[in-house]
């Protein structure tokens, strides 16, 4: 027996063979790599954007906060904070922020906005971007307002016009383009209007019940030692009821938010990559099947199984590398568009630079992914018997042990990737299960199609129909690969449409029906109630509900004071329960959005000394750690009121209605200082607008939310979000199309032979056209329908679990998706066979 070392073949020979073999297969190998190009491109673009975003957050952390430290509270911040900051030499600037109506006298327009009354000084870092550029000193010394740009556009107003906030009319000094730390999406929900803090009292808006947020921004002196904050200020602030953020914390919060965003988008890109990899798996499978004879010959000539496999492994890895590199380059150029795409979501301008890390990661992931998905076919090469060289029909009967191993490796890869992107083992698992589930459903659909077409094959039907149908199940068919790739892409885009409809429907349904309110007025003072009712009557708007609200804080829970509970690190009571300001109402009965779960509803307290039994939202059972009968004491603006848990309620929070965590019985809070909420219903937009104008004119402190505003806001936010998601879904759809083109071209040789044979046997052009049209129509049709069905299932589940509503999908849009995808499949399929139709059969075969 010869010495093994004598003929040890270097890697160089394998590379040489891989290169030689690839010269005649360039086109097909390019097809493999094209499948992964888009997925990698999307991945690199997103991760590169994420890296740039992190760099930006790191570099502009102070601008995100606008200061070194921010202290905030729902109640006025005590002087002890100012005194302490002052003693440390901090510069300070204060803010009061709240929701209020604004009124544009120019055209009598009104809208609920987010008013920020600020002092000169803020922001200490970064600046307001305004047009014209406003001088903050001038702005705070005059009676000026800086108004959100889109708000001005909405009301056709401009700098120089006036805007009324509360009792005061301000000059619009400039329109606000960008505010430090705020993204466009947050200003869509609550457009900001800045006014000088010193004029706050004159607006008359700081009344009982106004939901104020008080803030102190501080700037450290130049020689400030950060340790003073960590060791002295932070522990002291933690013991107060105030919340606070320093630059490091804000950086972390913002970083986490965008890590979630980019993580989610990277997973969408990853789906495109997996789709591409399925394309690779399908193409490599067919490609390597055709290599069986060559491998058998190589084995006859003395190559080992591993060497034979090595040649094609090098090809796959090489193509994976080239494909990933092209994808990475493409991604690097895509990323130029991303800052524009995400401009509304990010509170600063992201400067894009090449992230070499993202590129290296993308290439590595592309290589590993293409290798993993081709591995099963590659490993099978090892087992090809040399006997096949002399007996082509010879089949190895060994069981395919690799299937399980490769399947497990792919699962581990998908999970590891998701974990890497999400940094959360559980969410990564859910993603992996979701992906596997969707693939399994689509693969099941494909197998069912194959089974049913075979089982119920219309043997007596026309030749064309039989040929077209048979193409769905005969060897090397495209059914599985196309149903999975096109199906998943369609599912993604259809789910998006369905979810959008669900959200819009949900908002509409919440106020549909004649007796449901579609307008809420809040911050109403007790002495305004009668006049407001009168005004509503004038406008023929029914007062559907009028709810008194009393604010209070928790004083003690089961005999233990709030301070004690806060300090007790072993306590399970959630901090939000201890710190929040409770807005409580009282009535003698439940509304139709409430269901009693446990205990008894106390309608009224008859005598002043009687026990007070309150009703709690069921969520407080866990967060407050209370049971029926437990004692809870509230501090109602100075007076301590002792109560007992009388019942727990389940509340449907999604209705446009007032709901309360804590409900008191009648006979307790009637005399407490309170304000009111009024619910009414308008029938037309005009009625709503004129009523709101009158309300703002007469009662500037009252705020109004109407359904139109909510719908418009939801619509605006969704439009921005869905654009980004559609952009990402595009990668999946387009990858699906590339895989489709790839699969069809890979099988072209076989198909051409078959078509030529048919032509030789006398089939005419129209026969071939009809057969191919039918096959691709069925494939495109079934793939897109499967995708739409998956989207409908996902939509139904979303509707059931997340939105608590029923789904009413937009069928015309889904129909359009179906027609487009099917038409595209037929078109690509037919272009594939066009070469057969115009030429003599022998010429086609020779070429």
């Amino acid at each position: 027996m010869a010495n093994q070392n004598d003929r040890r073949i270097g890697l160089s020979w394998l590379f040489k063979m891989a290169w030689r073999d690839s010269r005649r297969n360039t086109g097909r190998l390019v097809l493999f790599m094209s499948s992964i190009v888009l997925g990698i491109g999307a991945l690199v673009a997103i991760n590169s954007f994420g890296d740039n975003l992190n760099d930006q957050i790191e570099g502009e952390a102070k601008e995100l906060l606008g200061a070194d430290l921010e202290v905030k509270s729902r109640t006025p911040i005590g002087d002890e904070v100012r005194e302490r900051f002052d003693s440390l030499g901090f510069a300070m600037s204060e803010e009061m922020a709240f929701s209020s109506m604004v009124y544009f006298p120019k055209n009598a327009g009104t809208r609920l906005v987010y008013v920020r009354a600020v002092e000169d000084g803020f922001p200490y870092y970064g600046d307001f971007e305004t047009a014209p550029q406003a001088n903050s000193k001038e702005f705070t010394t005059g009676q000026n307002a800086l108004v959100d740009q889109t708000l001005l556009l909405q009301f056709d107003a401009a700098p120089g016009d006036s805007v009324k906030i509360g009792e005061l009319t301000f000059n619009v000094a400039a329109s606000v383009l960008k505010v430090p730390g705020q993204s466009a999406i947050t200003t869509t929900v609550a457009p900001p209007v800045f006014i000088p803090l010193r004029l706050m009292d004159k607006t008359g808006l700081n009344q009982l019940g106004s939901r104020m947020e008080y803030k102190i921004y501080a700037k450290y002196p130049d020689d400030f030692d950060p340790k003073v904050f960590e060791e002295f200020i932070a522990p002291w602030l933690e013991d107060t009821e105030y919340r606070f953020d320093d630059v490091a914390e804000r950086k972390e919060e913002v970083g986490d938010t965008y890590a979630d965003l980019t993580g989610f988008l990277a997973l969408t890109a990853f789906i495109a990559l997996i789709l591409g990899c399925l394309g690779v798996a399908g193409s490599v499978h067919i490609y390597l099947k055709e290599k069986v004879a060559s491998v058998a010959v190589l084995r006859c000539l003395g190559a080992s199984g591993k060497q034979a496999m090595g040649i094609f492994l090098i090809q796959v890895v090489g193509m994976g590398f080239i494909g990933s590199s092209i994808g990475a380059l493409l991604g690097a150029s895509f990323q130029a568009f991303l800052p524009g795409l995400f401009a509304d979501f990010v509170p600063f301008d992201v400067e894009m630079q090449m992230s070499w890390l993202a590129i290296a990661q993308g290439v590595a992931i592309g290589v590993v992914a293409s290798l993993l998905f081709a591995l099963l076919s590659l490993l099978r090469l090892q087992k090809i018997s040399p006997l096949k060289a002399i007996r082509a029909s010879f089949e190895t009967t060994e069981p395919d042990r690799y299937r399980v191993i490769v399947g497990s490796l792919i699962l581990i890869f998908v999970y590891a990737f998701a974990w890497f992107q999400l940094s959360d083992a559980w969410r990564a698992l859910v993603f992996t299960i979701g992906i596997v589930g969707s693939f399994a459903i689509l693969a099941g659909v494909a197998q069912a199609i194959i089974y049913f077409v075979r089982r119920f094959f219309p043997t007596g039907s026309s030749f064309v129909l039989r040929q077209g149908l048979a193409n769905l199940y005969r060897p090397n068919n495209q059914t599985l690969i196309l149903v999975v790739t096109i199906g998943l892409g369609t599912a993604l885009i259809s789910t998006l449409f369905i979810s959008q409809n669900l959200l819009i429907d949900k908002v509409q349904v919440s106020s549909s029906g004649d007796d449901r309110p579609n307008m809420v007025l809040f911050d109403i003072q007790t002495d305004q109630i009668a006049q407001l009712n009168e005004l509503a009557k004038t406008y023929e708007m029914p007062v559907l509900n009028q709810v008194p609200i009393v604010t209070m804080r928790l004083h003690s829970l089961k005999g233990r004071g709030v301070e004690e509970l806060r300090a007790d690190t072993t306590s399970d009571v959630r901090h939000w329960v201890l710190n929040r300001e409770y807005r409580v109402s009282y009535r003698d009965s439940m509304t139709d959005s409430e269901t009693l779960l446990e205990g008894k509803w106390q309608r009224k307290v008859d005598n002043p000394g009687d026990s007070i039994f309150i009703s709690l939202d069921e969520r407080l059972i866990d967060d407050m750690k209370v049971e029926l009968g437990d004692e809870i004491a509230f501090n109602v603006q100075g007076a301590i009121i002792k109560t007992y848990v009388g019942s727990f309620r389940e509340i449907d929070w999604q209705r446009m209605q007032t709901n309360f965590l804590v409900m008191f019985p009648e006979g307790v809070l009637e005399k407490a200082p309170k304000f009111h909420v009024l619910l009414t219903r308008f029938e037309s937009g005009e009625q709503s607008a004129t009523f709101q104008q009158k309300v703002v004119e007469n009662f500037p402190n009252i705020s109004v939310i109407d359904l139109q505003l909510v719908l418009a806001t939801v619509d605006a936010v969704l439009a921005k979000v869905s654009f980004v998601i559609r952009f990402m879904a595009f990668f999946s759809i387009f990858t699906g199309i590339l895989v489709l083109i790839g699969s069809l071209l890979i099988s072209k040789y076989q198909r051409v032979r078959e078509s030529v044979l048919l032509r030789t046997l006398g089939a005419q052009k129209h026969h071939i056209l009809k057969i191919n049209t039918l096959e691709y129509f069925l494939l495109g049709s079934l793939a897109s329908l499967s995708g739409i069905i998956i989207a409908l299932i996902a939509g139904a589940l979303l509707a059931w679990f997340s939105f608590d509503t029923t789904m009413s999908p937009d069928f015309p849009i889904l129909g359009l998706v179906y027609v487009s995808i099917t038409a595209l499949t037929v078109l690509i399929g037919l272009s594939n066979s066009s070469s057969v139709l115009g030429k003599p059969p022998l010429e086609v075969l020779r070429s």
């Binding site: 004598d6 040489k16 003395g302």
Partner: protein, 232 residues
């Protein structure tokens, strides 16, 4: 001629399982082939000729029995060890040529030598190309060659590693009479020059009779084993 045995086959049996049944395609076949001799295996379709060839060349595993090739017992060798034996000692000529379609004629001839780590592979391949009369076709791919030319390349490849034994499976089966005859002549000529042992499987009795000895297979068994007139 040396009396040394290059191929020794003992009680060779091959059985395939087919569901619950088993099918014996080769049944206790034994024979020896002397070094430098030529031998033809003939028989009707399904008689076990190709199975016998596959087992003799170590392309398949017997169900029982033993094969010894150039002094190496193949029975217990791993697949990779058998591949090494093939590379060192065996040359193949196939009915359907089995050239690698993606490699040029020259590269096809180079493969066995490259697998052996031979640094002069290209020079030797060029030499062989000339020997088979296709010196100007080295850069052509198999699809650009006629059947006869492809088989010439296949023959050149078979002789590339100067094998001790050459297995030919219906080498002229896919060729017309005239081209087939030329190929036969080429095989015998090269074989004679190189002193290689030739085992060929064929339906063609005329071709078989050009060898020293004809083994006839019938129903998986060795039916006859006779010296030919050529040998005499």
């Amino acid at each position: 001629m040396s009396e040394e045995i290059i191929l020794s086959v003992r009680e060779l049996t091959k059985t395939y399982a087919s569901g619950s049944r088993s099918l014996t395609v080769l049944n206790a076949v034994s024979f020896d082939v002397k070094k430098g001799s030529t031998c033809a295996v003939v028989g009707p379709s399904g008689s076990g000729k190709t199975t016998l060839l596959g087992l003799c060349a170590g392309l398949d595993k017997p169900s029982s029995g033993s094969v010894s090739l150039n002094g190496v017992v193949l029975d217990d060798l791993t697949e990779d060890e058998k591949a090494e034996v093939r590379n060192r000692h065996v040359g193949f000529i196939f009915q359907s040529f089995n050239l690698m379609p993606t490699l040029t004629a020259l590269e096809n001839i180079m493969i066995p030598m490259e697998l052996r780590g031979n640094r002069d592979a290209k020079a030797r391949a060029l030499e062989l190309l000339e020997t088979v009369g296709l010196a100007d076709r080295g850069k052509h791919y198999p699809a650009q060659l006629s059947g006869g030319e492809q088989q010439r390349i296949s023959i050149a490849r078979a002789f590339a590693n100067k094998p001790s034994i050459l297995f030919a499976d219906e080498p002229t089966g896919n060729l017309d009479g005239e081209t087939g005859a030329a190929i036969e002549d080429l095989i015998f000529e090269l074989n004679r020059d190189a002193g290689t042992t030739l085992v060929l499987v064929t339906h063609d009795l005329e071709l078989a009779n050009k060898t020293d000895r004809v083994i006839t297979m019938k129903n998986g068994k060795l039916h006859t084993d006779k010296a030919t007139e050529a040998a005499i």
